[in-house]
């Protein structure tokens, strides 16, 4: 049996090496959650990588320094767990010798594998929102998605000024992340002159918020903040707020929950609701990408996907500029050198030096949308400094 295994392994190894020698393959890793609760995000990342690869492969491959490379996607599931992510990443680095990875997805997996990726000079494109995902120590860690500590301040400022909201209320889950979001939100609102007059915490399994909302409304709030709540909970909150007769604006500063809010609360209750929107759904480039993604994967597009698609395109451009697909130092330099790079998100750049001492955060415009007649309409375009 052992002898047979050895022979099989040996012949497999020969097959792989002879294949790569003749076909000039460029392997692009995807390390994301491809099963369980985070699948929508993982699919968004894998789809982005596959579509970007499809673009270059359809033209006969990516042309770098006179040679054509066929891009091959190698995807591993991290089950949204740090330990699994690290195992899969080690396999990518040591067995597959991959130098460019779309991922990791969550903050915990990111923190677990960033030391390994740094040591092995592997360029990663992460979705982790943690501030620690970017730092001077992690030279090869890039982040294409815009985290809440970048988008919440300008959006809150815009909302407070535009709506003239002075007294804000909000309900947050009673656990560490809920407490953190609650405190961060309170600080952000107070920084722009509004006051958080009612802040309540509840156990996550609670579904009847009416007593708590009654208490919040009794404080005479002008606007209600939904940040920190799971998409379904956000929908229930909107529904129950309207049932209690609250007609003021409801604001969702956190991640994308529009679909669930609309589904749970219905069209009428969601008038006068303002949400953060990472992409402009009115843009033709985004609409085209959405169509392409949804036809291929038969699932609604998650708004994070275009960011990874853009990032992979930038990595390809950087490879062409630096003339290498193996030297990640040179590719990194070229990547950072891309200015006003044209993508489906609009013109993008790299920022973040002041905040994280690492200029590897993608800077793309983001939006504030208002829900009207059951659909989101963009009402303001934002940069990390200001929404207008």
């Amino acid at each position: 049996m052992r002898g047979f295994l050895k022979v099989a392994l040996l012949s497999a190894a020969c097959a792989v090496s002879s294949y790569s020698a003749s076909a000039q393959t460029l392997k692009l890793g995807v390390l994301a959650t491809l099963s369980g609760a985070g699948t929508a995000w993982g699919m968004a990342m894998q789809g982005a990588a596959e579509l970007a690869a499809e673009d270059v492969n359809s033209k006969g491959g990516l042309e770098v320094a006179g040679k054509k490379y066929k891009v091959e996607i190698v995807a591993y599931d991290d089950h949204y767990k740090a330990a699994d992510a690290l195992t899969a990443f080690n396999r990518m680095v040591y067995d597959d010798t991959i130098k460019f990875v779309v991922g990791p997805l969550g903050s915990a997996p990111a923190l677990a594998l960033l030391p390994v990726s740094t040591e092995n000079k592997v360029i990663t494109m992460t979705m982790a929102f943690t501030p620690k995902a970017l730092s001077a120590d992690y030279k090869y860690s890039f982040r294409p998605v815009i985290p809440s500590d970048v988008f919440s301040d300008p959006q809150i400022k815009w909302v407070v000024q535009k709506l003239g909201a002075k007294k804000i209320g909000g309900l947050f889950p009673n656990d560490e992340s809920g407490q953190q979001v609650g405190a961060a939100n309170e600080a952000a609102y107070e920084a722009v002159g509004a006051k958080f007059v009612a802040k309540e915490f509840f156990e996550r399994e609670r579904v009847d918020f009416v007593p708590l909302l009654t208490r919040v409304l009794a404080k005479g709030i002008d606007a209600f903040e939904l940040n920190g709540n799971a998409p379904q909970t956000a929908g229930l909150l909107v529904k129950q707020l309207r049932e209690l007769g609250f007609k003021g604006p409801i604001i969702r500063t956190g991640g994308d929950a529009t679909a669930d809010i609309l589904k749970v609360a219905g069209k009428d209750a969601t008038e006068n609701v303002y949400v953060h929107q990472p992409i402009n759904t009115d843009s033709p480039a985004i609409q085209e990408y959405t169509k392409r993604f949804e036809t291929k994967y038969k699932t609604p597009l998650n708004a994070f996907s275009p960011f990874f698609y853009a990032n992979v395109q930038m990595v390809f451009a950087a490879m062409q500029k630096s003339g290498t697909v193996t030297d990640s130092d040179k590719v990194r330099e070229a990547l950072l050198g891309l200015k006003d790079f044209e993508t489906l998100l609009g013109k993008v750049n790299w920022i973040g030096e002041a905040q994280w001492k690492s200029n590897q955060q993608l800077d793309a415009p983001f939006y504030v949308a208002q829900l009207k007649g059951g659909a989101a309409q963009v009402v303001a375009k934002c940069t990390p400094k200001v929404c207008e």
Binding site: N174, E200, F201, F202, E203, E205, R206, V207, D208, V210, P211, L212, T214, R215, L217, A218, G220, Q232, G235, L236, E243, L244, G245, K263, V264, G266, D268
Partner: protein, 289 residues
């Protein structure tokens, strides 16, 4: 918002959750009174009722009252089958019976997760809009729950008081052996009582579906609260379950409105303990001889 509105709102909220606790507790206490079984799977029948209501209402688009009837019937029959096959063998052994219901609860809940997934589903309202009386505004969706629960309980009460079967059930609850001597067929009464009990839970679940949402875990809280209500009202006492349910709903609503969610959970149970210290057998319970 002034205090009168706050007060009116708290009363309405208290009534809504109170009637739900009442429907849950009445079924729970019925099974205990008749069969001496603590049915830990009671909450799961609530959840199954909510799902039945959800699927029939959303996919078949039939009138909600028909959905309620379907939920009560199917879950009631399922309850009878469960009693016959899984609970009857442990009839003389209360402890094993309890563990059997615990097992049934785990099986039903995990089965629901496998079948329908863990994510909550939103159910559309049966009625929309609010009833505005002066400065007060009451959502119709909640008023309907109160009215429907009152009707369901009245029907149940009339059945227990006026029909031969209801009288037979009460006889079995009072004294099984004497009931047997009178010619009551206890072997038919047990599954029937169990079926009725879980049908009440299913009705509560289907009624609350549109107000909250539907997921495999929705039965957990009502089950725990029903337990508290039954102890508060007196084990085995139906009027006790009604009083206890409404009282717990009110306490929960008022403490949450006045002191917030975290204090509310503490105060609720503190009050229950205080009441039990004064009346150890529960509000309307009788001390066992």
């Amino acid at each position: 918002m002034d205090y009168s509105i706050l007060l009116a709102q708290a009363v309405l909220n208290g009534l809504v959750i109170g009637v739900m606790y009442m429907l849950m507790a009445v079924g729970f206490t019925l099974v205990f009174g008749i069969m001496r079984v603590v049915n830990f799977a009671h909450g799961e029948f609530y959840m199954l009722g909510a799902f039945t209501g959800f699927f029939t209402y959303v996919y078949w688009e039939i009138p909600f009252i028909v959905c309620l009837l379907i939920a009560a019937l199917t879950i009631g029959i399922l309850g009878m089958l469960v009693e016959r096959t899984l609970i009857q063998p442990f009839r003389s052994d209360e402890m094993s019976g309890m563990i059997a219901t615990l097992a049934i609860s785990v099986i039903i809940q995990n089965g629901a997760v496998l079948l329908w997934g863990p994510q909550p589903r939103a159910m559309p309202d049966i009625v929309t809009g609010t009833l505005a009386i002066g400065p007060f505004s009451f959502p119709w969706s909640r008023l309907v729950v109160i009215a429907a629960a009152a009707l369901i309980f009245t029907a149940f009460w009339l059945f227990m008081q006026r029909t031969r079967l209801g009288r037979a059930m009460r006889a079995v609850a009072q004294d099984t052996e004497t009931a047997l001597i009178q010619g009551i067929r206890v072997n038919y009464i047990y599954p029937l009582a169990f079926g009725m009990s879980v049908a009440l839970a299913a009705l509560a679940g289907a009624l609350m579906g549109p107000v909250f949402s539907v997921s495999p875990f929705v039965g957990l809280t009502p089950m725990l609260k029903a337990f508290v209500v039954v102890i508060l009202g007196g084990l085995g006492s139906v009027p006790g379950a009604v009083v206890g349910g409404l009282l717990l709903g009110m306490i929960e609503s008022f403490t949450a409105t006045i002191f917030g969610s975290l204090m509310s959970d503490i105060l609720q149970l503190l009050l229950v303990i205080l009441i039990l210290l004064v009346r150890p057998a529960g509000l309307l319970g009788q001390r066992e001889a």
